[in-house]
Symmetry: C2
Subunit: 335 residues, 2 copies
């Protein structure tokens, strides 16, 4: 048996799986809550309301500039909690591994998971490991499911946008999608573009401190990009959204790559961005708080919520175009 | 685009994914909590303690006698909660679908998920859908993560077995593993064997009602079978366990299939069984409660907890053999 790769025995429920769990996975887990070798963890929760979210990650390649599937899965789950105004408390970690995966690659991913969880303060408390035969998965899929504590009485939500709200964005679009695509296709682009993969819980906490419940909507524009996020909010809140192209923070490397590849930056995935709808009277204060945070230096007000049901963007030429819900295959396996 | 199969566009974050979610997935979700199209759900929880568990399911084939991956994922997660003495409250549902999966197969699986969740009273409140290219997964993988409410102050746990405890089992071993194996290999066995796949929350509630905190340990012998479960408990509680072969409830079809296939029934997976360690003074009462429950008719006391660190079984010949932690590949993809 080759100890450098994962074998079916690592998922069989027997000795090899016990060793994998004991040596590689339990060290990631919370010392008090997650090391009891139970199939379920017993948790303390602070109040009667919780936020709960799940995501499976199938990104390909597993490692890309700016991150890997390990950092991505923790950040993605923390961000889904943060978008409902919650501080991350507990995370479960479930691996589906393809037989033959390099053990060292798995170790690097697990190290990323540990680092990202520590940085966000979330405790990994329970998990699961499955191994499937060669050719039956693609290296590694990870599910993370998170429990968070809401920071305020009324959580931000996609249905809460109000006409007059300002639309805020914390930085340039498309870095994650383009970085993954370039790594996957081994494209030779001049720029060194990195994924924006980051946990946004701290940024959100700073925004809520000054904006409170006047922060109506928070959404991370992942799959489908800003175009999908804005359309989902417009539908859920039954409003229109007007944005202006010239207000968008920019990363020239992304703009350049999108032109070469024929992609629309508004539809490309992000993993460290959020769009917010906030009441106009607190918009400048919230924007200032965002700009003070390391993950919000390039924040901008990019538009506002209006009557209607359409998402539009004013172009540099002064015309207005409709931003539709993306359709078709877009970029698969981006998260 | 062929509407009879799942395509990459169903996982892209665009219109097709919205339709899949709206038409097939949201109807499974809790009406109040799970239909808001948020990436995270807001939940009410009854107290300060929760039980939390995750599992990814990679069973192959997706449908087998007695169940399918949908019934299995709900029962598996409910059972992990039940083994810590918890009533299931909330479940998250995350799908990784291989491009090309038949839409009708997916619909059957989702219907099973809905039925199983309804039967157990657990609410599906949040989810995620990913689609990977043909050949990059094996039809369908499902992650379910569950939150449960502990029914008593001190939860059953693998570390709590005490010398003198009686060991109880709710029925014959190996039905799930053999049923899946027969379906997978298309073996022609005479008997019609069905998986025991079932949610054990009701049985556990009945046991705790009469046994209370004297029910020290509950464990569902899934991967690695009873052999793995008993060894894990012995290690966690630092005790030995003595069982007697003649006390084991039997299903002759499993015994026969194991003989033909050269398998050890103690190492074959179950999905509707539990093993319990209970204080001797309540053992008969707990056994009686189990026998009154539809999922415990064949329950039996199969042994007791002793000093030491070994799991042993007295054979029909009066000799005693050591039941080791299973090793090697066992049966992959059984859950």
């Amino acid at each position: 048996m080759n100890s450098d790769i994962i074998t079916l025995a690592h998922g069989s429920g027997g000795k090899m799986m016990q060793e994998l769990i004991a040596q590689e996975l339990l060290p990631l887990c919370d010392e008090e809550l997650g090391r009891g070798l139970e199939d379920a963890a017993e948790l303390q929760v602070p109040g009667e309301r919780l936020i709960f979210t799940t995501d499976s990650f199938t990104v390909q390649p597993l490692e890309f500039p700016g991150g890997d599937i390990g950092k991505l899965c923790i950040c993605g789950t923390v961000n889904d909690l943060a978008m409902r105004g919650a501080r991350p408390l507990y995370i479960s970690l479930s691996l589906i591994i393809e037989e033959g995966l390099e053990f060292n690659l798995l170790r690097r991913v697990l190290a990323s998971i540990g680092n990202a969880a520590r940085e966000t303060g979330a405790a990994i408390v329970t998990g699961d490991t499955k191994v499937v035969q060669r050719g039956k998965a693609d290296g590694l899929f990870i599910n993370t499911t998170g429990i968070g504590e809401p920071l305020q009485q009324r959580s931000p939500g996609a249905t809460r946008a109000l006409v007059g709200d300002k639309v805020l964005l914390n930085g340039p679009l498309g870095e994650h999608g383009i970085a993954v695509l370039v790594a996957r296709e081994d494209l030779q682009l001049q720029s060194e573009l990195e994924s924006d993969c980051a946990a946004l819980a701290g940024l959100v906490e700073a925004m809520l401190q000054v904006g409170g419940e006047a922060v109506h909507v928070l959404r991370d524009p992942t799959r489908g990009g800003l175009a999908a996020a804005l359309n989902e909010i417009a539908t859920a809140s039954q409003v229109g959204i007007e944005t202006e192209e010239s207000y968008l923070p920019r990363n020239p490397a992304v703009t350049g790559a999108c032109e070469i590849l024929g992609l629309e930056p508004l539809e490309v995935a992000n993993e460290g961005k959020l769009v917010a709808m906030v009441a106009p009277e607190v918009a400048e204060k919230v924007l200032a708080a965002m700009k003070e945070h390391p993950l919000g230096r390039q924040s901008a007000i990019i538009g506002e919520v209006v009557e209607g049901d359409r998402v539009t963007m004013k172009t540099a030429l002064g015309t207005s175009r409709i931003i539709d819900m993306p359709s078709g295959e877009l970029l698969p396996r981006i998260c």
